[in-house]
């Protein structure tokens, strides 16, 4: 008798299966790909501290490519680049901060932990729909012969375009304005070349976030160092990308050709190209987190934080999955999903989303995306350009000049500054 069906062996699903299995429940973990992570595209940094409690010392065995010890934020225009660069050796030792990893490896590893705890992993199996009786989810249908599977609780962890959450009426019809498209290239480079170009050693890695490199389409770029490859790509608003009639791979080509980026990727060979939708609607556009007989976790619930300087998803997926698995038994026993919702509200998962609920609108606004990178770059260029024999212009004059050139009124700058202060307080 199956107690819990978890659909999707990504970070949320495997975390849920791990906790439910540890609680002694009979868990079936369904995965549509031939192995966990095989269907995934991810270009980001995984912040694994959420695992400290359930997998102590996880960093010793997780399939990490590099530990991020250097984080840069770059503002780009066609000809300029301004970088804020930070590095800390603290992030290069246990318990670490974030790591680059290939999700095919990471997801397999985490799903392996769930299997070790007693969950049964079934791969190459697609959950095609829900079995609903008397208004309650009582199982799922799969694409296998004789494929109905019943259980008192279904945990939907089937990703951003969750068919199960949609079928249950928990996730509104897909709205392009709340989605971004991430496209990523993995470029092969010898390890020593990466170390030299990025100024790192051993397992140290770099996370570079870039703004102003997407032809004015709201979004940004990224570059992460793996052991012997780079992950380079962009994440852009789906709605604006469609309207701009630009192909996403052209944006990646632009990024790689930018004078500030080209020297990093020179001579690299394309190994892999992937694309993926990302839910970036924030707190105000999360899915309903439960219906009788079903809990929704991770990307399926829209639990992905895209708040400017914080770009996190896997830790929110794991956090929500852990909560779902941890409270599976009480949800089954009581028939009420309140413990799950309460656990999320009491953790970083919903608290961060709630606190930063205004971030998506601000970060993806036209001024932040299209005007401020140029304004800041022009201001800094003005400050650092030696204009002799003319005297140095004052900073305020340079600011006014840069604002005018980039179509920004100082009152807008002030208003956005205040808005940013409120969002990130």
């Amino acid at each position: 008798m199956t107690d819990v069906i978890v659909v999707g062996a990504g970070p949320a699903g495997s975390a849920a299966a791990l906790m439910a299995a540890r609680d002694g429940l009979d868990v079936v973990l369904l995965e549509r790909g031939p192995f966990p992570g095989s269907k995934n595209a991810y270009g980001g940094v995984v912040y694994g501290r959420v695992l400290d409690e359930v997998l102590p010392g996880w960093w010793e065995e997780a399939p990490v490519q590099r530990w991020v010890t250097r984080r840069s934020t770059m503002l780009l225009t066609e000809t300029q680049a301004l970088t804020v660069d930070f590095r800390s050796t603290d992030w290069g030792q246990a318990p670490y901060n974030g790591c680059t990893t290939f999700r095919a490896d990471f997801d397999s590893w985490l799903a392996g932990k769930a299997v070790d705890a007693g969950a049964q992993l079934v791969t190459s199996t697609v959950a095609t729909g829900l079995i609903v009786e008397a208004g309650r989810v009582v199982g799922v249908r799969t694409d296998r012969p004789d494929g109905d599977l019943r259980a008192p609780l279904v945990i939907a962890a089937d990703g951003v375009n969750s068919f199960l959450a949609k079928e249950a009426g928990l996730l509104p019809r897909t709205q392009a304005k709340h989605l971004t498209l991430g496209v990523k290239e993995v470029l092969s480079l010898p390890r020593e070349v990466i170390d030299e170009r990025f100024g790192v050693r051993g397992d140290e890695g770099v996370d570079v976030e870039l703004l102003g490199c997407t032809r004015g389409i709201p979004g940004g770029g990224f570059l992460y160092t793996n052991r012997d490859s780079l992950s380079v790509g962009v994440v852009v608003s789906l709605e604006h990308l469609t309207a701009a009639k630009v192909r996403a791979e052209d944006l990646v080509a632009d990024l790689k050709a930018h004078p500030a980026v080209a020297p990093w990727v020179e001579g690299a060979e394309l190994k892999e190209y992937t694309a993926h939708l990302i839910p970036e609607g924030g707190y105000d556009h999360l899915a309903e987190l439960s219906t009788p007989g079903m809990l929704v976790t991770g990307d399926a619930a829209g639990l992905c934080l895209a708040a400017g300087i914080w770009l996190e998803g896997v830790n929110f997926a794991i956090g929500s999955g852990l909560a779902a698995g941890r409270h599976a038994r009480s949800v089954i026993d009581s028939g009420d999903a309140k413990p799950y919702r309460k656990a999320l509200e009491g953790s970083f998962v919903l608290q961060d989303h709630k606190r930063l609920r205004g971030a998506p609108d601000l970060v993806l606004s036209e001024r932040v995306q299209q005007r401020y990178p140029g304004l800041v770059a022009d201001l800094v260029q003005g400050l650092f350009t030696v204009t002799n024999p003319a005297a140095k212009p004052g900073a305020l004059r340079l600011l006014r000049r840069a604002a005018k050139k980039n179509g920004v009124k100082l009152r807008h700058l002030l208003a956005d500054g205040l808005a940013g202060g409120r969002v990130f307080r």
């Binding site: 079934v122 012969p145 004789d146 060979e269």
Partner: protein, 289 residues
Amino acid sequence: MADRLVVVLARCTDLRAEVDPLSGAITRDPRTAAFSASDAAAIEHGLRIGSAWGARTLVVTAGGVECEGPLREVLSLGAEVRRVPTRGSYVDELATDERALAKSLVAAIGGRPDLVLCADRSADRGTGALPAFVAHELGVVQAPGLVSLELDGEDLVAERRLDYGRRERMRVPLPAVCSVEAAGIRLRRASLPASLAAATAEVPVADVPVPGPAVRVLGARAARPRPRHLPAPTGSSRERLLALTGALLSHEPPTVVGPVAAPEAADALLEFLARNGYLSEARTGWTVQ
């Protein structure tokens, strides 16, 4: 007939192995180990024929523990499975003595099969000689390169490709070793209950000698053929383009046939092929009337 045995010798390997373009090093991912389309076709033929005969179907794979996942999937289809352990690396496998491998596989079968099925070629390493070695070990006939395999009563009727698009249909005397192409057949999917039941099943490992190497490998590196020296092209780029495309040359105008009935259209087509040398009697043995 309850004692009949159908055996499938299927190769399981990473079908998407990475090859380092610089060093030629091959990285195989155990998670993507699977049966090739031809191997899957052999398994499906084995299941169909085994079911029709009321026979046991045994799938034997030579490989490492990475083969156990795909073998469990076969187990959930109702076949028996067995694994023959092999030596580790890809280079070791390349150097394996194919005849010794055939001996180990036959030993792992542990009985005299009525029919042995193989893929017509392996996805990653094969010489194509294994079915012949297996047939030799068993002392039975071999039918290679089959595109279909059907039962006609108790007989096995096979079809295979010949040159010039022709096919050959033949009755295969049993016992036999048949190697099949991935043509017109697809491996069935296991039911969910069967898949769940087989998920943790143990895959028996045959207690047979691990096939050793046929050759001693001194080193392995990427193939780097010498560049061919080609003379520089002559003439202008326009002239070369014209020569390549034949843009300004006169051509035989297209032949318009019809509308005519099918026999006349076939005659016209045959006449065209004969006129252009594709249907000479010497090449095909046919005479165009």
